[in-house]
């Protein structure tokens, strides 16, 4: 068996399990990493891609802006060249012709942002006055070349269309007088190209928000003059066709609303972002370059018409929003969400697994513990356990089984319980068939078999052992077939023996019960009869079955029949006992309705915590009859005796009284002897009659409160004469003046007379008989002390018996009846008193009796009856 236990113990070592648990706890993190990584990579890729897209977008927008500006400048150049062509084509261009040309261009519509298109004429200082006069003559009397002052060369704006509004302020203005403009004009001539000026403040800035301005110049030469060199060109120079630009307006014109959402830019009239050179800013609110944190920025340069413009472009805050970033964040968000969910799920699974493992480990441990526990029980169990296989062969047997069966496991192994190793019998001594064995039955039926009693022994030498066997089949979990049978048995030999002994005892008891003369009836607390013996059947005339199970009261006549239940419940409630513990005379009722006197003794015992009553009933019909006959006989005899005695005594008395003198002395003596004896006979008859009445309970006592002192005094007086006859002195010694007792005074006087006459009879002549009265315990003691010979030792035991006298000769000598002390004893017992004596041979005898003190108890004066009438008295 040990190896089996070991096999179950194989389980992985703790450390391995702990290691596995460590790795397992990492799994969720690995899952998180593995899922989060692609998410982050994808997010990164998307972000980068988005960046590239944004960059491209930005580039596109930047180029668009740059190209638009460049294209517009080119357009304007063409316009100016057109104007120059007009001058080249005709010697003179009139104001109206210029107006027409410019109007045809529809500047405001086609080229918004151009303030105007004008012509500035070059004037040599010597021609200045003629020029002014000529222009004034054209209807402009207030015309002046501005600013005034003497200069080596003048230019004057003579045409500027549209010739209205702001442009009127430029009429007559000498642009060559201003450094920036002059530089551009000179450069135009020097290089013979179209030029634009640096940043200027236009003279048209007369009102409103001032804007940065610049101008574009195309030189015009007088026809037919060589223009190959710079000097030649300066000689041939006639004027400039030009356009002033307000940059803000121009840019609005160029760009319209395009890209205003996503990109801002600044134009500097410089090759770098020189703040003073800032010409244009698309943003509504200016901010320092350094403060701007755009996601994209670029710097471009526009080389145009002699100037280098720096174009700074930067994305607006809204630029990024325009590229679709929602997807990116969605990807990231969802990715992380899914990763976390997976992480949580894995973690949960791992935890579950860990829990499951822990549970499994716990269950294994518990199972192990349970296994150990059962193993221990199996080994130390008082009951025998034998394990059989499917062929009923014994596999194992616990120590108790080996002990009970009286064999060892080795002897049993591989045997079946049917093997002839054992002799097996039923309770009645018959042998077991092989198929009857509990193990076989359990195998066959696949159900447990319980409480089979078997007598078993494996050797004829040993006594039978009795066992109580249960057989439990165990089915294979897979096949469902019975593959084990556990036979569990208890050694009940001792119990069996006790049962047999009990059965013997019970038979013995039953035999007694059946053969006893008295009826024995048992009943429970409910008054229901539980057994009724043969004698009871004979007495009551019922068969046992007619009474058992019914109420006891069926055996009683009225009024006991009706009162019985009440009495029973009263007894059970109060424990008060009227019948129990005493023998009582009652009346029984036979099946045929006859009533009969019976003597009943009831004892109460506790059975299973319940009161249980055993009643013994004796039919005393015969005895009663006999008693009645006896008492009638005694009564009759007494009466019949008394009548002749009366006659005899009367006759003798008359003879002695009247004729004594006439008789011879001898005759007279004989008659006196006859008279004495007839007197004694009378006494004897009286005593016999008294005693009979006393013992049969038919003498009525008239108990009433009396004073014992007074009764003793009367007794002393009444017996004085008798004592004197015997030459004995009576001496009263009463320690009390009053001694209340409950008594029949006449009977007590009888007691006194008996004791005193006894004492006197046995006292020597001249002696004193002491009569004492004193308190004794709860009552009083009366003593009568003589100086007689004392009571012989061998007589002491019989002294209160009837007709008892120490010496039969006493009767004659002392003249007693031998009944006095018997009567005395009975009378005192009826007074709840007792009589006894002390005697010393040669010194004397003291008879004494005790009576309880009478104490008036109830306030209404009713006298407690110390001798309540027994229930029997009602029936007499």
């Amino acid at each position: 068996m040990q190896d089996r236990t070991q096999a179950i113990r194989s389980s992985p070592p703790e450390s391995v399990r702990a290691g596995n648990a460590g790795i397992r706890s990492l799994i969720p993190w690995i899952v998180l990493l593995a899922t989060l990584l692609p998410v982050l990579l994808a997010w990164n890729g998307l972000t980068e891609q988005r960046q590239v897209l944004a960059n491209r977008q930005f580039e596109l927008l930047s180029r668009e802006i740059r190209e638009a500006i460049a294209q517009r400048l080119l357009d304007h150049k063409q316009i100016l060249l057109g104007g120059a062509g007009l001058f080249d084509a005709s010697k003179e261009v009139s104001r109206e012709e210029w107006h027409t040309y410019v109007e045809r261009l529809s500047l405001a519509k086609n080229y918004p942002g151009i303030l105007g298109v004008g012509y500035s004429q070059v004037i040599q200082p010597d021609q200045l006055a003629a020029h002014i006069a000529a222009v004034r003559a054209q209807g402009f009397p207030d015309y002046q070349v501005k600013p005034p002052g003497a200069r080596p060369l003048y230019t004057a704006i003579v045409y500027l269309e549209p010739f209205s509004g702001r442009n009127l302020a430029a009429f007559g203005y000498d642009m060559f007088s201003q450094e920036t403009r002059r530089a551009a004009m000179q450069s135009a001539v020097d290089t013979n190209t179209t030029t634009i000026s640096g940043k200027v403040r236009l003279v048209q800035e007369t009102h409103g928000k001032e804007q940065a301005g610049f101008l574009m110049y195309v030189p015009i030469y007088r026809p037919d003059l060589p223009l190959d060199t710079v000097e030649a060109r300066w000689k041939a120079l006639r004027g400039f066709v030009y356009s002033p630009y307000r940059v803000d307006d121009l840019m609005v014109g160029i760009l319209g609303e395009r890209s205003s959402r996503s990109i801002d830019f600044r134009i500097y009239d410089s090759d770098h972002a020189e703040p003073n050179a800032l010409m244009f800013e698309s943003a509504e609110h200016h901010a320092d370059e350094s403060n701007l944190q755009p996601s994209h920025r670029s710097q471009e340069q526009i080389h145009a018409y002699g100037r280098t413009w720096t174009l700074n472009l930067y994305s607006r805050p809204g630029f990024d929003a325009e590229t679709d970033s929602v997807t990116v964040w969605l990807v990231l968000g969802l990715g992380i969400g899914i990763s976390l969910a997976l992480f949580a799920l894995t973690r949960l699974l791992v935890d579950r697994r860990a829990q499951a493992l822990a549970l499994a480990a716990e269950m294994t441990a518990r199972r192990q513990e349970s296994e150990d526990r059962f193993r221990s029980v199996y080994l130390h169990l008082g009951q025998g356990v034998v394990i059989h296989d499917a062929d009923a062969r014994i596999l194992d047997a616990n120590p108790a089984a080996q002990r009970i069966l009286g064999t060892t496991l080795e002897q049993m192994r591989e045997l079946t319980s049917v093997d002839s190793l054992w002799q097996v019998v039923h309770e009645d001594g018959s042998s077991f068939f092989a198929t009857e064995y509990p193990v076989m039955v359990a195998l066959r039926r696949s159900t447990p078999v319980t409480d089979v009693v078997m007598g078993i022994r494996h050797d004829r030498a040993v006594p039978w052992r009795w066992i109580l066997v249960d057989a439990y089949p165990r089915q294979d979990e897979v096949s469902g077939r019975v593959h084990r049978v556990y036979a569990v048995f208890t050694d009940i030999t001792a119990r069996k023996q006790a049962e047999l002994a009990l059965k013997d005892q019970s038979r013995h008891t039953q035999a007694i019960l059946d053969n006893v003369i008295d009826a024995i009836i048992t009943a429970g607390a409910d008054g229901i009869v539980t057994s009724f013996n043969l004698a009871a059947e004979g007495i009551f005339g019922y068969a046992g079955a007619e009474v058992v199970g019914n109420n006891l009261s069926m055996l009683m006549p009225e009024p006991y029949h009706s009162a019985h239940d009440r009495y029973m419940s009263h007894h059970l409630r109060t424990g008060e006992q009227k019948v129990i513990g005493h023998t009582r005379e009652l009346t029984g009722r036979r099946k045929n309705g006859d009533t009969f006197p019976m003597e009943l003794a009831v004892s109460r015992i506790e059975r299973d915590g319940q009161p249980f009553f055993i009643g013994m009933v004796r039919d005393i019909t015969a005895r009663k009859q006999l008693e009645r006959m006896k008492s009638e006989l005694i009564s009759t005899v007494s009466h019949e005796l008394r009548t002749p005695v009366t006659s005899i005594r009367g006759a003798i008395g008359l003879v002695i009284g009247r004729y004594a003198d006439a008789l011879p002395e001898k005759g007279r003596n004989l008659l006196q002897m006859a008279e004495r004896n007839s007197a004694r006979l009378t006494l004897l008859i009286n005593d016999i009659l008294d005693l009979e009445k006393l013992t049969s309970g038919r003498m009525n006592f008239d108990l009433h409160p009396c004073d014992l002192v007074s009764i003793a005094g009367q007794a002393l007086e009444a017996n004085e004469g008798y004592a004197r006859q015997h030459q004995v002195t009576l001496s009263g010694c009463f320690e009390l003046t009053r001694a209340p007792v409950l008594a029949d005074d006449n009977r007590l006087l009888q007691v006194f007379a008996n004791l005193i006459s006894n004492a006197v009879k046995y006292s020597p002549s001249g002696a004193v008989v002491q009569i004492g009265l004193r308190r004794q315990g709860e009552g009083f003691r009366v003593s009568v002390q003589d100086e007689g010979p004392g009571i012989p030792e061998d007589f002491k035991g019989r002294i209160f018996e009837r007709f008892a006298q120490a010496d039969s000769s006493d009767t004659r000598e002392k003249g007693g009846t031998g009944l006095g002390l018997s009567i005395t004893k009975v009378i005192l017992e009826r007074h709840n008193g007792r009589v006894d004596y002390l005697s010393q041979a040669g010194i004397g005898t003291t008879f004494y009796f005790d009576l309880p003190e009478w104490i008036e108890r109830s306030s209404d004066g009713t006298v407690a009856d110390p001798q309540p009438d027994p229930p029997t008295s009602e029936q007499d």
């Binding site: 005594r649 009367g650 008239d702």
Partner: protein
């Protein structure tokens, strides 16, 4: 003065003893052997005392007394019972029937007369 006594007693020996005992001392005796007999002769009599035995076959003493009392001439005549029953209860019972006294049997014949006169408080002289 002579006392006339009606004596009822079933026992002839006792009747004779009583007759002898009361022979002297101023008594005149009429004796009957049973209650029945007494009832038949009683109407003719007017005794000074009825001496009545208690236990008699047939009609007992108390019954006889009851019947005699029914007679006008004996309705108030003193009665003394003679009985062997000397229980105090019995004495009381008999006295309750109207008896003057009870003389127990056996009696002292020499003192019977005295006893009767003591009960009757009727001294001889």
């Amino acid at each position: 003065m002579t006392l006339h006594i009606l004596h009822i007693e079933d026992e002839p020996d006792i009747r004779e003893v009583v007759d002898f005992a009361l022979e002297e001392g101023g008594f005149r005796l009429t004796q009957c052997a049973s209650g029945e007999e007494a009832l038949t002769c009683a109407p003719e009599l007017s005794p000074d005392l009825i001496l009545l035995d208690v236990m008699m076959p047939g009609m007992d003493g108390p019954t006889t007394l009851q019947k005699l009392r029914a007679l006008q001439n004996l309705a108030r005549t003193p009665v003394i019972f003679m009985t062997a029953k000397v229980q105090p209860k019995e004495c009381e019972y008999l006295k309750a029937l109207g008896a003057l006294g009870v003389i127990s049997k056996p009696f002292d014949p020499m003192r019977l007369g005295e006893e009767i006169r003591a009960l009757l408080q009727h001294p001889l002289v």
